[in-house]
């Protein structure tokens, strides 16, 4: 397992907290009518993307689903510009044309942000194809929601990735519900990580509420893929505290279930570890909390003050 430095703990805590505060603020702006359309929050799942982040090379590529704000923050993108995309302003990462579900940053090798369930899986496989074609040692991390694991193109992509030994790491974020349908009502066979077995793709299941478990699995899987052995699947067991999207009151699950997961809150786990290992004091953590809150507050202010795109932008970016 990757040896974690003191700074790594602080980095993990800061990023996870930043994602949480960002999403809470996004929910607030949504309620105020500043953010429209669909808005899928990542609260509860922070350990997944931050755990993976700890094992990533900056030239590796990432592609994910529409629940993407946390992924962008973890990729080191500017929360101000992410939030400005949510508010549909010209400073947003997609200049206000993409919105919550469709955000990209080519310079950061972040390839979206895809709104169609499952579509990002062949795409991520194609990005991995390019790494291999170009003779690069990089890999593409392709995130998949549990809902997409019943989608045909996912298996077509698995087949191609295994057939051509492509450097792609598939990360199934199993947050237990595809919109309002629980995994056991959608998937025949609950071990989603085994769904690559028929193609010879190894897989494993990981506790996604615990960032340390995620790092351990991601590190091992990342090495396997980078060494040219072909694809690998990690199924990360996680949970979203909020509904599927802002318009979902999540009545399909009990309060007890939610409270139960909150007992193992991913951010609290890291914080407890930091205090236990005496990496930082309570005061120092408080300072991170305060700074993060401030940063996100500024992001929201930036995003609501950024101008709407010019009318002339309607017709740009259709063709290069």
């Amino acid at each position: 397992m990757k040896k974690l430095q003191k700074a790594d703990y602080i980095k993990m805590y800061s990023f996870m907290l930043k994602i949480r505060r960002f999403e809470e603020r996004a929910a607030q702006l949504y309620g105020m009518g500043k953010i429209g359309g669909f808005c899928h929050l990542y609260i509860g799942q922070e350990a997944v993307v931050v755990g993976i982040l700890m094992t990533i090379d900056k030239n590796d590529s990432v592609v994910t689903t529409y629940r993407d704000h946390g992924h962008m923050i973890a990729r080191g993108l500017d929360p101000k510009r992410i939030m400005a995309e949510l508010t549909g302003r010209e400073d947003g990462y997609s200049a206000g044309k993409g919105g919550s579900m469709h955000m990209f940053s080519k310079e950061n090798n972040f390839y979206g942000g895809h709104g169609i369930v499952g579509a990002q899986v062949p795409i991520g496989t194609g990005i991995a194809f390019t790494h291999k074609y170009n003779g690069e040692k990089n890999i593409c991390r392709t995130y998949i929601g549990d809902g997409a694991m019943n989608n045909g193109q996912v298996f077509e992509a698995f087949n191609l990735a295994a057939l051509w030994k492509l450097p792609v790491l598939y990360i199934i974020e199993n947050n237990k519900y595809g919109m309002g349908t629980s995994v056991d009502r959608a998937a025949a066979g609950l071990d989603l990580y085994k769904r690559g077995e028929a193609f010879g793709i190894p897989g494993e299941k990981v506790d996604g509420m615990n960032v340390f478990s995620v790092i351990e699995a991601a590190d091992k899987a990342g090495k396997y893929v980078r060494e040219g052995n072909g694809p690998y699947i990690i199924e990360v067991q996680t949970y979203r505290y909020r509904g599927h999207s802002m318009s979902d009151p999540a009545k399909y699950r009990t309060k007890e279930e939610l409270d139960n997961y909150k007992q193992t809150d991913p951010i609290e786990i890291v914080k407890a570890e930091i205090l236990k290992k005496k990496i930082a004091t309570n005061d120092e953590i408080e300072k991170i909390n305060k700074d993060t809150l401030e940063e996100i507050k500024n992001a929201a202010e930036f995003a609501t003050n950024s101008p709407f795109p010019k009318d002339s932008e309607l017709h740009t970016d259709v063709y290069l």
């Binding site: 993409g98 194809f129 074609y133 970016d317």
Partner: protein
């Protein structure tokens, strides 16, 4: 009694073949199912089995003889005891009969070819770099891909049967040998998956040429084409482009019925973010495919199976290209305008000849070449000159490319029109299988002539 073994049609569009090898010799006794010959078509070399039984009395062609028409007798089998009698009794008659059959076949083939007139357009004649040699559309496409692959190693090709099989329609012949399996990739029958993969590769900077065995199968991948390839540049605020060419045969082939004979030109032309091209000759196929491969946007390149064998001169300059979005005035005229594209250009040209001969109507023919973006300027200028317009295309009538042209022309050249615009399309039904119904379904030369008469108020 003797039986003739006829040159078989090994594909729906085959009209002739080469006898590459006999697997039997005179005097052999053959049973149904025995292999008798190797026949080479423009697509493949195949072994042919006997369907009748008997002793080989005669082989009518030598190995290596080429261009033997389909349905022509290539061997005679029968009972050897009757052999002498047959030969003695009716040798002359037999020959005459054969000649008759041959002639019938030739006439039939000529009729078939008459649908595809192959005279170079004036623009081609003006081309000083025109090759003296004529090549097929298939070869023009192949050569252009190879030329572009030599120039830029980010260009690669993938699709079903494109590598080892040399292409289901032989359009990728020889590419595997020259560029290797890293750049010429056979895919599983998995359109949704490999299209998404190719789109991802294009996002990341490669320049895939994706062959759909036919565009009918692009429906399996339509989400990746529309939602991913066409929209991502816009959704990413201009950051991520998708330099990919989706190519393959589109529209009707010959009697492959509803699921394998659909024209998707208007479907794709509706989508912002896509460019749509439909070549009609080897010449413009070369120029347009080069532009498509070099274009930084997703391009739908609609070929036509029946046109693959069409021969014509080309410009062999490896940098020769025809700009996307430019129509070609295939033939100038003053009495009416025919706007068309792809295979219907050939039928329109034939109609124009007959319109001149039979009705003294001088039709101007515009070959769109690109369907999106549409060259409205060339269309409008023509209509302003001729004051009459018909559109001719293979797609279904509702919401077709012609529908949009009719809309543009009534909006921007209303005062120039002397008659309503008339569209000639395929029938508004799924493609039937039967030869007779298929012919009814597709626009024919007579339909074009009737439309031209109608806009010219000729009864």
């Amino acid at each position: 009694m003797s039986t003739e073994i006829l040159m078989p049609a090994l594909s729906p569009t085959m009209t002739e073949g080469n006898l590459s090898k006999w697997l039997i010799k005179k005097g052999d006794t053959i049973k149904a199912g025995d292999l008798i010959a190797e026949i080479e078509t423009d697509k493949a070399t195949m072994e042919v089995e006997a369907v009748d039984e008997g002793v080989v009395l005669d082989l009518l062609f030598k190995e290596g003889e080429a261009k033997i028409p389909v349905n022509k007798a290539i061997a005679i089998i029968g009972d050897p005891n009757e052999k002498v009698e047959v030969k003695k009794e009716a040798p002359i008659e037999k020959v005459i009969e054969e000649k008759k059959i041959e002639k019938n076949i030739e006439t039939k083939i000529e009729n078939k070819k008459a649908d595809i007139i192959d005279t170079p357009s004036p623009k081609i004649e003006e081309d000083r770099n025109l090759s003296s040699e004529e090549i097929t559309m298939r070869q023009a496409l192949r050569d252009t891909m190879a030329e572009e692959m030599r120039k830029d190693n980010k260009v690669f090709i993938l699709g079903e049967e494109v590598a080892e099989y040399q292409g289901a329609y032989k359009v990728t012949q020889g590419l595997l040998e020259e560029f290797g399996k890293e750049r010429v990739l056979d895919t599983p029958i998995s359109e949704h998956g490999f299209t998404g993969l190719a789109v991802g590769a294009a996002f990341k900077g490669l320049r895939p040429i994706l062959e759909f065995m036919t565009f009918n199968f692009s429906m399996q991948a339509i989400d990746q084409i529309i939602n991913s390839a066409a929209k991502t540049l816009y959704m990413s605020g201009g950051q991520i482009n998708c330099p990919i060419v989706f190519r393959g045969p589109n529209g009707a082939a010959a009697q492959v019925a509803a699921q394998h004979s659909q024209d998707f030109s208007s479907w794709y032309s509706q989508v912002p973010g896509l460019k749509v091209i439909a070549p009609s000759t080897p010449y413009n196929a070369k120029g347009l495919l080069r532009s498509a491969i070099s274009d930084p946007n997703p391009v739908i390149f609609l070929e036509n199976e029946i046109l693959y064998g069409l021969k014509g001169p080309v410009n062999n300059d490896i940098n020769f290209s025809i700009p996307i979005g430019k129509a070609n005035i295939e033939k100038e005229g003053k009495d009416l305008t025919i706007v068309t594209y792809s295979i219907m250009l050939q039928k329109s040209k034939e109609a124009a000849l007959r319109l001149k001969e039979e009705y003294n109507l001088d039709a101007e023919i515009i070959d769109l070449q690109t369907l999106r973006p549409l060259d409205t300027e060339t269309i409008l200028n023509s209509v302003k000159k001729t004051n009459r317009l018909i559109t001719v295309e293979e797609s279904w009538p509702i919401g077709s490319v012609g529908s949009e042209i009719a809309n543009i022309v009534q909006r921007d050249a209303f005062d120039y029109l002397d008659s309503p615009v008339i569209k000639v399309n395929s029938a508004d039904v799924p493609m039937p299988y039967s030869l007779s119904l298929e012919k009814l379904y597709l626009p024919q030369v007579d339909d074009i002539i009737n439309a031209a008469k109608k806009v010219s108020y000729i009864k």
